[in-house]
Amino acid sequence: MSERLARLADVLVGYSTAVRPGDIVRIYGGRPTTPLVREVYRSVLRAGGFPSAELTVDETIEDLLIEGDDDQIAWVPPDLAWTLEHGDVMIVLDGPENTKHLSGVDPAKMTVRAKGREPYQAMYLERSNRGEFRWVLWGYPTNASAQDAGMSLEEFETLVHGAAFLDSDDPIAAWRQFGEELERVGSFLETVSELRVVGEDTDLTFGVGGRTWIRADGHSNLPDGEVFTGPVEDSVEGTIRFTFPATIRGRVAEDVRLRFEGGEVVESTASTGEDFLREMVGMDDGARRAGEFAFGLNRAVTEYTGSLLLDEKIGGTVHLALGRSIPGTGGENQSALHWDMVCDLRQGGQVYADGELVYRDGAFPESVLA
């Protein structure tokens, strides 16, 4: 296990964040991730960086949201603020102990927390876009995430490691190769001005002309494998029904359906968690708009697991995020929210680019990308 972790650490440090001598590197790990934190710490030392690490614990976030007043909840601690403003590299190892630990918390308090953090979120994404800050999020397999996926920890570990190409002889070479495939999809999409997505209870049209499609090839997320952009803000029209439960901050809304007019959500329903959905959509002006649209392209991820980091990468899905757009895409939407929701297009889904069918049943035909 330790060797596998050391290999993973070398991908996170040597490829994803490309740590260089003198880099100030902050490692944040969930409580179960200590064995990996140690390997990442070692790998950063060997790369010549200055690592420091701390564990983030579910319990303290819960305590804050239950015991804290708005000032306390919105406050950003100085160590995190410093890292996001001045640090060179941030490596986040998400390892949940209980994915539903915030179920009993008032969503309004989560909104307060998200709003407090928004300026720092915006700042580090901007810094990242300018090349001043490199960060990666790794989904560390735990029993909690395996349980959501309905499998054993070992089965889930195998799935996650496969999705990150860690079992390949040279994982970094495998990511570079996959990056070329993402490049072909990205360059094609940059020739398109309007996309129309058609699927079950779904017919959504939006402009992407002039926007940049980011090739997510393992630099900010691991596992990874998507291309994404920010849709033209006021152009989104129509309806979309999300196949998988939409989860955020330990909460869930199932069978979410959204109707857009002039770029804004005008109707939102869910079979469960509808109040929560509406609370999130009403968080601020930008939360009603789509900040991201993406194609999941990782064929090593085939089934829904309940871990967003994996689900949004499933080859043959698309996802749309309500809220903040990502700097570098050309998207201009501002919000304290960024909520990704996944729509599976593998069974009969279609995508039209400027009126032409370019994607069906979860794939771009070779002829389109040639």
Partner: protein, 375 residues
């Protein structure tokens, strides 16, 4: 289920030791093995309106740094930590560890570089504490590693720690520590008028000059548990011999049966039954390391045994301790050193202390009121 004693412990730190107030920037830090107390202190701080955050250290990173780090990496201070040291209003540090000997075999020279960087931060912290800008408390959450050092089961060790802090279910911790503060302060004001202490015990007859040096009560603000009064002796007045029956520990390494002879304030002879080379190398650290920077009475009678942890051992009721090396500015010290090594002298059986010739302490107790509270 939450241990009620941990909740009381946390309230004591947040309320009594640190006096946390609304809007103060507060950090509680420690290794992951201390999580239950870190969380409880964090909650107590939130309830008091503090802008609180935790910094939970994964176990086992320092040994990787000492093994792998370059000189530059070993001596590096994270700029984020510097910023925090300047910004905090209040700070609790939990010294708990999941292995107290993890660094024992690390290369001493590399360790020195690493510690020097660490002490630069600690010194800055003390500057802010002395200037009244920062409230700080160092304490410990009982773990298996510390229980093992103390030669107890974890359950026994928990009872010991919570007893020493007076946070057992039946205790009223804040009332207890307020009364300790009163008693220790009264005792300290008495000692302020003393010119010379003479300590007599097994193989011990030591004279220590303390004229004009203020005695400081340790009443549970900067350490928990607490319970000592201390000062910094006159630098050239220490004369005679002292024997330390407890092992003397510095950075995890033990020296046994230390005997020291002082002339005109300086150690002129040092011996030990084991670790004698280490003892002499520590005394040779620098010029100030052969001079006493502290003399103190341990007065926490709930601490009735040696546990290999200085947080507790220096407060064992009925002991005295002296420290070789740097003294305390607030006690008027002139002695500077990179060393501060507390050595504990057990006076519980046969010890006597004379203040300017008058017997003031016998068999581990002051002979006159204000008596130290007995429980």
């Amino acid at each position: 289920m939450r241990d009620l004693r941990v909740e009381k412990f946390a309230e004591l730190i947040a309320g009594y030791s640190l006096g946390l107030r609304d809007g103060q920037v507060f950090r509680v830090d420690g290794e992951e093995s201390a999580l239950p107390l870190i969380s409880a202190i964090y909650r107590a701080a939130l309830r008091r309106g503090a802008l609180a955050y935790t910094q939970i250290r994964p176990a086992g990173l320092d040994e990787i740094l000492l093994e792998e780090g370059t000189e530059e990496q070993l001596g590096h201070i994270s700029p984020g930590q510097v910023v925090q040291t300047e910004q905090l209003d209040a700070w609790a540090t939990l010294w708990s560890s999941s292995n107290t000997r993890a660094l024992t075999r690390a290369d001493p020279a590399r360790r020195k570089t690493h510690l020097a960087a660490h002490y630069r931060m600690v010194n800055r912290r003390w500057e802010r504490i002395s200037a009244g800008e920062l409230a700080w408390c160092g304490t410990l959450f009982p773990t298996q590693a510390h229980a093992q050092d103390a030669e107890m089961s974890l359950t026994q060790y928990e009872d010991f720690v919570y007893g020493a802090c007076h946070v057992r279910e039946e205790d009223d911790p804040i009332a207890h520590w307020e009364s300790v503060a009163e008693t220790l302060t009264a005792r300290a004001r008495e000692l302020d008028s003393v010119r010379e202490l003479r300590v007599v015990g097994p193989d011990t007859d030591l004279r220590v000059g303390v004229e004009g040096r203020p005695w400081i009560p340790s009443e549970g603000k900067q350490n928990m548990p607490d319970g000592e009064i201390f000062t910094s002796p006159l630098e050239t007045a220490t004369q005679g011999e002292i024997y330390f029956a407890f092992p003397s520990i510095f950075q995890g390494q033990e020296v046994e049966n230390v005997r020291l002879r002082f002339e005109d304030g300086r150690v002129v002879h040092a011996e030990a039954t084991s670790g004698e080379d280490y003892l002499r190398s520590l005394i040779g650290t620098d010029s100030g390391a052969a001079v006493l920077g502290e003399v103190a009475f341990g007065l926490n009678y709930e601490i009735d045994r040696f546990t290999r942890d200085i947080l507790f051992d220096e407060k064992i009721g009925g002991t005295m301790h002296v420290a070789l090396g740097g003294g305390f500015d607030e006690a008027g010290t002139q002695n500077k050193s990179d060393l501060h090594w507390d050595l504990i002298c057990d006076l519980r059986q046969e010890g006597e202390v004379y203040a300017d010739g008058e017997l003031v302490w016998k068999a581990g107790r002051f002979v006159t009121e204000p008596a130290v509270e007995r429980v």
